[in-house]
Symmetry: C2
Subunit: 107 residues, 2 copies
Amino acid sequence: MSRIIGSPDVFAAIADPTRRAILNLLSQGEQPVKQIAQPFSMSLPAISQHLSVLCEVELVTQRKKGRQRFYRLNPEPLKQVSDWVAHYEQFWQDKLDVLGNYLEDNP
Amino acid sequence: MSRIIGSPDVFAAIADPTRRAILNLLSQGEQPVKQIAQPFSMSLPAISQHLSVLCEVELVTQRKKGRQRFYRLNPEPLKQVSDWVAHYEQFWQDKLDVLGNYLEDNP
DNA sequence: ATAATAGTTAAGCAAATACTTAACTAATAA
DNA sequence: TTATTAGTTAAGTATTTGCTTAACTATTAT
């Protein structure tokens, strides 16, 4: 169960609430770092570090323009999470079915 | 972006690969701790600690029988993850649509 | 050239995490 | 009763994480 070297975990990347909030911001379109940082009560370097974690798992990409760096959401690695959770989705669906059947039989 | 007290994060709980593997094991049905621990090269207390993390976010439940404790998967908190990722699913779907349209127009 | 702006990198730190071994509790078996 | 089994809890440790401030790089503006 050890981590594969050079392939950091997307699950670990989205574990942090600040990083999830950043992804949420970026779902409105690409933004420069200062603008990303603005809603957070945290230093710019902190945000920069979060962005590089997201970059490493390729949840965001960078584009340089002048002295700004625009970060853009790349949702594709989230497929990994989606696929993983889908497996369990089936389980809670089964559970709801059982409940549904029960309610049908016991109205 | 601070953590809600008394409501530990399910995202943090599934960030650990060992815990995800445990959930995967439990998807085959409830199991006592020793059996859960068996495939891992890790001490029993380590597994016990992982189980209590999963318990805190209610991804597993406990049932005592004699001196054994059976742990059972409770997938419901994963809805939170499912809902979160679904929002982005739309995004990569859009992206695929754009690609699809491009391929249609440029066969 | 100098200063200002946008951002990263470096260094350091406190807290959290993922383990370990040892000591404990509770239930069964001899 | 004593020993064994199943598991948790306690205590300690090494590593990682999420921040901070200070120093740096690169680009634009004066």
